[in-house]
């Protein structure tokens, strides 16, 4: 497994780096979608997979980021790049405010509450609250990406923007795994009472997980708004949250697992478009089979790394 990962990651990154140059424009769009949803699924993994909180409202934070970018660009004329800090910050702050009162709830209750938040969000943007969300049609005609006057209109540049966001997310998750905060999340997921009894303030780390997951999803929202030059309520519906939730559970809370999950959910349906309605029928069964055969996910979670100097005597150990 270790050796597979050592080779698989560089190959994956290399393939992803040259991918837009070998694809036509339709498949470039599919690849961008893959990158965006991979980032959202990874952000969901921080909350659901790493910290074990049943969050069924990740599309809410994704949408908040997308709408922040869209509104600031459309109403106030900010450039897309300038909206990024707020597109991260607003979802993150909302993550803290929404999670604060509910993180003490047990799994299933938390799940229902987050569904509620997601539904409220979609209703708010659909009903054009405050007159800035554009109602059911959403907001369209956003500016394209530009950076210090250099216009990055082409789909290839959007692709690299999305790819950079994915790399950033993977970097954060790697740092998280080797830090006190990241381990605290694992501990509280495994046994909350034991975590408290060893000195971990679990509430802080649960809220931190929500804030971090929300911020990353918000950034993915910006990329989404850029790709379509538009945002609309149905893209952030509760059913999207269900998909992100399923990807993490079926994939198994590991980076390769989540990426495979996103590929299966969002890219395979594009490849098998001819089968139209049949594809979801097949994917439904595939999900059921995956959960029965591999209840901990296709590629199960591996926890934080331990330093090499601790593994010295393992070769003759148990």
């Amino acid at each position: 497994m270790k050796t597979i990962q050592r080779f698989a990651y560089p190959i994956f990154f290399a393939v992803m780096a040259i991918l837009p140059h070998v694809l036509d424009s339709r498949w470039q769009a599919v690849a961008i979608t893959f990158l965006i949803f991979a980032v959202v699924a990874l952000s969901q993994d921080i909350i659901l997979g790493k910290s074990g909180m049943f969050n069924m409202g990740q599309a809410l934070f994704f949408g908040l980021g997308a709408y922040t970018t869209a509104i600031l660009n459309n109403e106030y004329g900010w450039s897309i790049i300038a909206t990024i800090p707020l597109a991260i910050l607003i979802p993150a702050v909302c993550g803290v405010l929404l999670a604060g009162p509910i993180v003490h709830l047990r799994g299933d209750y938390l799940l229902v509450t987050t569904i509620g938040f997601n539904i409220v969000f979609v209703q708010v943007v659909q009903n054009n609250l405050g007159g800035i969300t554009g109602g059911p049609n959403g907001i369209f005609g956003l500016d394209s990406l530009s950076f210090y006057g250099i216009d990055l209109t082409s789909q290839v540049s959007v692709y690299y923007f999305a790819f950079a966001v994915l790399l950033l997310t993977l970097g954060i998750m790697r740092n998280l795994a080797g830090s006190k905060a990241g381990r605290a999340m694992h501990y509280l997921r495994e046994d909350q009472l034991a975590a408290e009894s060893i000195g971990i303030n679990t509430r802080i780390y649960k809220i931190f997980a929500f804030a971090l997951g929300a911020g990353i999803a918000g950034l993915a929202g910006t990329v989404f708004a850029v790709q379509y030059s538009a945002v609309s309520p149905e893209a952030f519906d509760f059913i999207q949250s269900v998909l992100f939730f399923s990807i993490v559970i079926v994939g198994g809370s590991s980076v390769p697992g989540v990426l495979i999950g996103v590929f299966v959910m969002f890219v395979l349906p594009e490849i098998f478009r001819e089968f139209a309605t049949w594809r979801f029928f097949i994917f439904g069964f595939a999900m059921i089979a995956a959960m029965i055969l591999r209840p901990r996910g296709i590629i199960p979670a591996t926890f934080g790394k331990i330093p090499k100097f601790l593994i010295k005597e393992n070769n003759h150990g148990a």
């Binding site: 830090s179 009894s197 601790l310 148990a318």
Partner: protein, 259 residues
């Protein structure tokens, strides 16, 4: 600062109509190995839960170094140097032995939340220093060879040692052990005795609940015997063994079908 003393005064904990702990008072002095014994259902674990903040007692006071700790949360109590193990082992079972022990370093590590997103040279040094502390505990408890193995797949006796190593990684002043010998064989129990003495020699005060009478008599300096949540006797192991109230309530009950 007052001595490292734990003083319970009239601690009472009720569950509905049941009084699990009834006006219990005792004092654990620095450097002692203090035992609490009593028949099943006497309220021993409830006392521990009241000390470590899992329950809040309705009445009475729990003073540690002269400070009232009743009503503090478990992690606040750990921060004051009191760490516990559980009767039913509660490890992070999918995680490796080293990671489990590392959880004890959580409260000592000074890393901030943002170090979870971006590392700094300082946070990397902090991380490494704590892993070296883990290494010390693994050596002390003879667990080095299991460092990378998930705890869930280890035998019971080793899991007990991992739990104690995790607690000791906090560098506690008071270590609370809830039935540390439960489920251990004779050889493992003997090793446990030696380990407890070694922990005491490091300057850590030990408070333990135990069922194994032979072990209690051998390891403890001082004992409190409780039954139905009330203290019925206290004293040195020798004195307790002769106490008629104890013999009747506890030792005598071995012949009965006491629940």
């Amino acid at each position: 600062m007052a001595h490292n003393e734990l003083i319970l005064t009239d601690v009472t904990k009720r569950f509905g109509g049941l009084t699990a702990v009834d006006a219990l008072s005792f004092k654990v002095s620095a450097g002692q190995i203090y035992g609490i014994i009593g028949p099943n259902g006497a309220g021993k674990t409830t006392v521990f839960n009241c000390i470590t903040g899992i329950y809040k007692s309705e009445q009475g006071s729990v003073k540690w170094r002269g400070e009232e700790i009743r009503g503090l949360t478990p992690y606040q109590i750990v921060d004051r140097g009191i760490v516990r193990t559980f009767q039913t082992i509660r490890l992070f079972s999918q995680m490796s032995v080293a990671e489990n022990v590392m959880s004890g370093r959580h409260i000592k590590s000074k890393q901030k939340l943002w170090h979870g997103i971006v590392h700094s040279p300082w946070s990397k040094r902090d991380e490494l220093a704590n892993w070296h502390k883990v290494e010390e505990q693994l050596d002390f408890f003879n667990l080095s060879e299991f460092a990378a193995i998930p705890t869930g797949s280890l035998p019971y006796g080793i899991q007990r040692r991992v739990e104690m190593a995790r607690a000791m990684a906090v560098d506690p002043t008071l270590l609370i052990l809830d039935e540390p010998a439960a489920g251990l064989n004779d050889k493992e129990t003997m090793e446990l005795l030696q380990t407890i003495f070694k922990i005491r020699d490091k300057g850590v005060t030990v408070l333990l609940i135990e069922h194994d009478m032979d072990m209690v008599m051998e390891v403890t300096d001082y004992l409190t015997v409780i039954n139905f949540g009330k203290k019925i006797a206290e004293g040195t192991p020798e004195a307790i063994q002769k106490d008629p109230a104890v013999i009747e309530a506890y030792l005598g009950s071995e012949d009965d079908d006491d629940e």
